[in-house]
């Protein structure tokens, strides 16, 4: 079953919290993963792989560099989920 945008945001925030300790509240659509949330590339890859499992979506490596903001990731996942 497809997840709504709100569900994807909440789920992604959970994964970010789990990996980095950043509170889920801080993970908002307009935030940049690197500039605002200070997430490094290694944590980002872990979050991406966990998001694939959680949402049943494939996020190709070449796509990851385009996921600048939380909204980028939420939109990609929402549009590409099974």
């Amino acid at each position: 079953m497809a997840h709504s945008q709100q569900e994807v945001l909440a789920g992604l925030a959970e994964l970010v919290n789990d990996e980095t300790g950043i509170t889920a509240d801080a993970v908002q659509m307009d935030k940049s993963f690197t500039d605002d949330l200070d997430i490094d590339s290694i944590s980002m890859m872990t979050i991406v792989v966990n998001a694939e499992d959680k949402f049943g979506v494939k996020i190709p490596d070449e796509e990851v560099k385009n996921l600048i903001t939380v909204a980028d990731a939420v939109n990609f996942i929402t549009e590409n989920q099974d």
């Binding site: 789990d18 990996e19 980095t20 300790g21 290694i42 890859m45 872990t46 792989v49």
Partner: protein, 410 residues
């Protein structure tokens, strides 16, 4: 050369979660060895079903995010180093004058083998991106260096069960030479994993006393049948006497020697003549400018293997001759098991506490002392007689490594 003192200690061991509680448990004659309850013991039919597991889980101390990025060996290292650093009063030292010398014998074995399971079961994309920095043997030293902002160098000695002592010896000489003013030094190990246990068991190095784990580690006893694996870490803060005095730090004792030699005799067996081990002890005493009669306490390597305990006795006798009878010897692995790369570090903590409190800890499980090892090994704690006593702590490792530290009470 600069004089070097110990101003902080930390440890997480099978006896307790910190240095002082570990020391108190040691004095009380406790054993940190217990039956392994993990599922993998039965799953793989592991022939040895007990070990010295850390009394306090690292996961109870670290944040989940810290723990997630550190192999268990680095987790123990960081916990012990933070304790030592706090104990030393968090010295204000220029980052460029602060170094780390932290050892491991085996490295991130849990990380490596978990990652291989992930690869086989779920494919390469699911292998954690942090796998390499977590499994590398310099991981524990690097974690401590990052936590304390050390910029005078972060170093890792790897010499099997002599690693902890070699790291502390390196730290001592580094300060003596003026390369750093303060060094956090020690060693960690977290190898209570089915593979290392199976491998050590395959070489008949481990005790098989599955029915009575607390009695299994019995150095010098006639019924000893091998060592008992332990896990944890020990850490020291070493600094120049000048630095410690200037900031009014509490001083546990002076470190006066740190010597490393090699046998090049056999990859695992000690040289039965004990020549290399004896040279390490003698060199440590030369560095200390101490006579053999100055030495009152020896924290022996004494792993509880039939061959190793005798070889060390032979080396001690070779160095100390008739003074051997006057030495108060402690074999603290009887209580903690053998922490491999962490062994020298926690035994340094015990040796330092022995000098500070002028008290040699008891050696447990010594019911029938091997007549071929007529050392003076107190069964209950015993007072030292000299306020300026010198103590040495021995560590030897596969590969023919011999590393000996010497400390003097102040």
């Amino acid at each position: 050369m600069k004089r070097v003192v110990v101003t902080g200690i930390g440890a997480t061991t099978p006896l307790a979660g910190d240095a002082n509680a570990s020391w108190q448990a040691l004095l009380a004659g406790k054993s940190g060895i217990s039956t392994l309850e993990q599922d993998w013991v039965a799953q793989y039919e592991i022939p040895v079903t007990f070990a010295g597991q850390a009394k306090i889980s690292a996961l109870d101390i670290l944040t989940p995010q810290e723990a997630k990025r550190l192999d268990p060996s680095s987790q123990f290292a960081l916990i012990s180093a933070r304790e030592a650093w706090a104990d030393a009063g968090e010295p204000e030292v220029e980052p460029e004058r602060l170094a780390v010398d932290f050892a491991t014998g085996i490295g991130g074995v849990w990380t490596l083998l978990d990652a291989f399971d992930t690869l086989k079961e779920r494919g390469p994309r699911r292998v954690l991106p942090m796998t390499v920095p977590m499994l590398m043997p310099n991981g524990p030293a690097a974690a401590i260096g990052m936590a304390l902002g050390a910029r005078a160098g972060v170093h890792t000695a790897v010499s099997a069960c002599a690693s902890g002592n070699e790291a502390i010896a390196n730290a001592f000489h580094r300060i003596q030479r003026g390369e750093a003013d303060v060094v956090v030094a020690g060693g960690a190990e977290a190898a209570i994993h089915p593979l290392p246990i199976s491998a050590f068991a395959a070489m008949h190095a481990l005790s098989k006393r599955n029915d009575s784990p607390e009695q299994a580690s019995r150095p010098y006893d006639t019924d000893r049948d091998g060592f008992v694996m332990g896990e944890g870490a020990g850490a020291l803060v070493l600094e120049t006497l000048d630095s410690a005095t200037a900031r009014g730090a509490k001083i546990y004792c002076e470190i006066v020697g740190g010597s490393v030699t090699s046998d090049s005799y056999h990859i695992t067996a000690p040289d039965p003549e004990g020549a290399g081990a004896a040279r390490a002890m003698l060199q440590a005493l030369e560095q200390a400018r101490a006579s053999i009669e100055d030495v009152e306490h020896v924290n022996a390597h004494a792993t509880s293997t039939p061959v190793g305990d005798i070889a060390e006795y032979t080396a001690i006798k070779r160095v100390f001759g008739s003074h051997t009878d006057n030495l108060l010897v402690a074999a603290t692995k009887a209580s903690t098991g053998h922490l491999l790369g962490g062994a020298g570090a926690i035994e340094a903590v015990f040796t330092i506490m022995a000098l500070k409190e002028q008290l040699v800890p008891p050696t447990i499980n010594l019911d029938n002392q091997d007549p071929n090892i007529p050392l003076n090994v107190p069964r209950t704690s015993m007072a030292l007689s000299r306020p300026d006593a010198v103590a040495i702590s021995n560590s030897f490792g596969f590969g023919g490594h011999n590393a000996v530290l010497a400390f003097r009470a102040v």
